[in-house]
Amino acid sequence: MQPAQAAPMYADSSSEAAPIERAKWPISDLIFQVCALLAILLALSVIIALLFDIFSDGFHRLSWDFLTSFPSRFAAKAGIYSALVGSFCLMLLTIVFSLPLGVGAAIYLEEYAPKNRWTALLELNLANLAGVPSIIYGILALQIFVRWLDFDRSLLSGALALTLLILPVIIIASREAIRTVPRTLREASLALGATQWQTIWTQVLPVALPGIMTGCILAFSRAIGETAPLITIGALTYVAFLPDGLFSSFTALPIQAYNWVSRPQEAFHANAAAAMVVLLIILLSMNAFAILLRVKYQKRTR
C-alpha cells in the first residue's frame, strides 16, 4: 500500500524560487566565493591524499589470499579473514539491535510523545549523546555488558557498544525523516478510520523509510570504522577462527589494522593499508547505497 501522492521529501528549492537577477556583484561576493571554493578544495585534497596514500601503500597486498587468510607472523602470509568476518557479524548485529530501537524511539518521539518539558529534556539529551566521544561508550559498555551482564569480550558486547554509539544518530535521522511526512497524509488516514498504529505502519513509515535508511546507513558506516570502543571492551587482536555465535571472541578490521600499524616491520604497515582499503571499499559502497536509495525515492515521488 503506497500513498498515492506524497510531497517530495527533499524539495528542490531552486526550481521553485524565482530566478536571481544577476546584477553587478560586489567584490565581497567574489571573495566569499573564492573562500568557499578553497574550503571545498582543501577538504577534497585531504581525502584524495589519504586515498592515494593508502592505495599506493596497500594496493599491491590486496588479493583473494589476503581476504581469506588468518593473521600470521609473516606479513606476506597474513590476512584479514577473521577481521573481515568479525566486522561483518558485528555490523549485522548492530543493525539488528539499533534499527528497531532507534526507529521505535523516533516514532514515539514524533508520533506519540506529548509536547512537554520532559520530552524537551529528552530531545536535548539525544542531541548531546550524539556528540559524546566514542571511547566513553566503550567504557560504559565495558562496565555494563562485559562486567555486569557478564557477556565477556564477545561479539554481543561489541555490537551492543556500537549500538549505544549510533543509537542517538539513528534516532535523530529517523525523526527528521518522519517529520517530513506531510500532515495531510496522517489526517487522511485517520479520517478514513485507521487507528494511529495503522496510520504509522501503512502510511508514515513507508514514506519515511528511505529517509530513515539513508540516515541509518550513514550511522552504520560510522560504526564499522570505530576502533576506540572495541579496544576498550577488549576486542582481541589474534583470532584465528571465525565467530560461531553471539558469545564468540572476535576481532574487527580497524583493530587488525591498528595492530599492524604499530608493528616495526614495513611489510605489516602495507598490510594495514590494505586492510584500510578493504574497509574504505565497504564504507564507500554503504554510502553509495544510501545515495542510490535517496535518488530512487526522489524519482518515484515526483
Binding site: I95, P206, N259, V261, R263, P264
Partner: protein
C-alpha cells in the same frame, strides 16, 4: 519499499549465525580442544602470535586468542581470572600481586625472550659516539625537567643545540624498564619529552630531527636502520664487557648490553594450567620460543634459562622471582636458579 523487505535478511542472518560452525577437522594427535585466552603486552604479542600460529597448525581445535591491552591492562584482567595467560614486558608489580592474591589467582612466571632497549639519534648527529648510564640519567631524570635542554649540558664538548627527547608513553613496559634501569627507580623521569604509544612515531620523530634522542625496542631499530643511528651504551662496569656496547643479539645473549637488556615474560594462571590444552600450549611455547622470538625481532634466551623455565612450569612453582626485592637487572639465570 516495505519494512519487512529490508529487515528480513538481517534477521535471518542473525538466526543462522549461531548455527554457523567452522568445520576444521585437522589431524589432531591428542584431540585437544577448548579456548586459551591470552592478553597483555603489545611488545610480547608478536612472540605469542607466532607461538599461537604454530600451535594452531598442530591443535586446530584449540582456540587461542591474543589481545594487546598492555602489560598493566593485561594484569588487570589476569588477576581477576578473566584471562589464562598474561604477556608482560616487565615483571609483575607488588600491587598487581596483591590483586591476584585477593582474587585467589596463583601464577607461574616464565621468561620467554629478551628485548634490548636501543638508544638512537638522528644519522646527521655527528657528535654523539657513545653514552654512559650517567649521561642518560642526566638527560632523563625528573630533576632535568625544564633545566637540561641543550646537548652541551650533558657533555661540554657537545654543541650548544637543543636536546629533544622522544620515548614511549608512561603506560608502556618499555618506559617502566628504562626508568628502572637508568634512574634506579621505576616511573621516575622528566615529563617534558615527546611520548607516543606507537614506537613508529618515535622512529619518525628521531629520523626527522637532528637534535633528537629516543629509545625503543631493538626490533624498531632493526627495521629502520637507514633512518637512525644507534648509540652504544656504557654501564661503567668492567666485568660485563668494558666500554660502550651496541644493542644487538650477540651482546644481549652474552649479557654485556647492560643495563638495557630486558627480559619478556608470560604469566600462567596456575588453576588454568591444570587444563590439558593450556599445559600443552605453555610447554609448546617454552619449547619453541627460542626459534620463534628471533623471527619476530627479539633475542632468544640462553638454553639454560629456558631449561629453568621449563622446570619451573613442570613443578608449578608460583610467585615472582622479583617479589623478594631482587633487582630487575640481575641475570635471569641467577634469579631462576634461586627461585626454583
Amino acid at each position: 519499499m516495505r519494512i519487512r523487505d529490508i529487515y528480513a535478511p538481517f534477521l535471518l542472518a542473525v538466526l543462522v549465525l549461531p548455527a554457523w560452525k567452522t568445520n576444521v577437522d585437522a589431524a589432531v594427535p591428542e584431540n585437544l580442544s577448548g579456548t586459551i585466552k591470552v592478553d597483555g603486552s603489545s611488545t610480547v604479542y608478536p612472540i605469542t602470535e607466532a607461538v599461537a600460529e604454530e600451535f594452531g597448525k598442530i591443535h586446530g581445535d584449540v582456540r587461542v586468542t591474543v589481545g594487546i591491552s598492555g602489560t598493566g591492562g593485561g594484569f588487570k584482567k589476569f588477576c581477576t581470572g578473566e584471562t589464562d595467560i598474561s604477556d608482560a614486558s616487565r615483571p609483575i608489580k607488588p600491587s598487581e600481586i596483591e590483586t591476584c592474591s585477593a582474587n585467589k589467582v596463583d601464577f607461574i612466571e616464565l621468561p620467554v625472550a629478551y628485548d634490548a632497549i636501543s638508544i638512537v639519534v638522528n644519522p646527521k648527529n655527528t657528535w654523539v659516539k657513545s653514552l654512559t648510564v650517567a649521561d642518560l640519567k642526566k638527560m632523563w631524570e625528573p630533576e632535568a625537567q625544564g633545566k637540561i635542554t641543550k646537548w652541551n649540558q650533558i657533555r661540554s664538548e657537545w654543541p650548544n643545540q637543543p636536546l629533544r627527547l622522544f620515548g614511549p608513553g608512561i603506560d608502556s613496559g618499555t618506559y617502566d624498564y628504562f626508568t628502572e634501569a637508568i634512574m634506579g627507580k621505576e616511573d621516575a623521569s622528566r615529563g617534558d619529552y615527546t611520548s607516543s604509544e606507537d614506537d613508529n612515531t618515535i622512529v619518525q620523530g628521531v629520523a626527522n630531527d637532528v637534535n633528537a634522542l629516543g629509545f625503543f625496542g631493538l626490533a624498531y631499530y632493526e627495521e629502520n636502520k637507514g633512518k637512525l643511528k644507534m648509540v652504544p651504551v656504557d654501564d661503567g662496569k668492567g666485568d660485563n664487557g668494558a666500554g660502550p656496547q651496541m644493542a644487538n643479539a650477540e651482546n644481549v645473549i652474552e649479557g654485556i648490553y647492560q643495563p638495557l637488556s630486558r627480559p619478556l615474560f608470560v604469566y600462567v594462571r596456575k588453576q588454568a594450567a591444570e587444563r590439558p590444552e593450556i599445559k600443552e600450549f605453555v610447554q609448546f611455547y617454552l619449547k619453541n620460543t627460542n626459534t620463534l622470538s628471533p623471527e619476530v625481532g627479539y633475542v632468544q634466551l640462553p638454553d639454560k634459562v629456558t631449561e629453568l623455565a621449563t622446570n619451573r612450569f613442570a613443578e608449578r612453582v608460583t610467585g615472582s622471582v622479583y617479589s623478594g626485592g631482587h633487582s630487575q637487572l640481575a641475570t635471569l639465570e641467577e634469579l631462576y636458579t634461586k627461585g626454583s
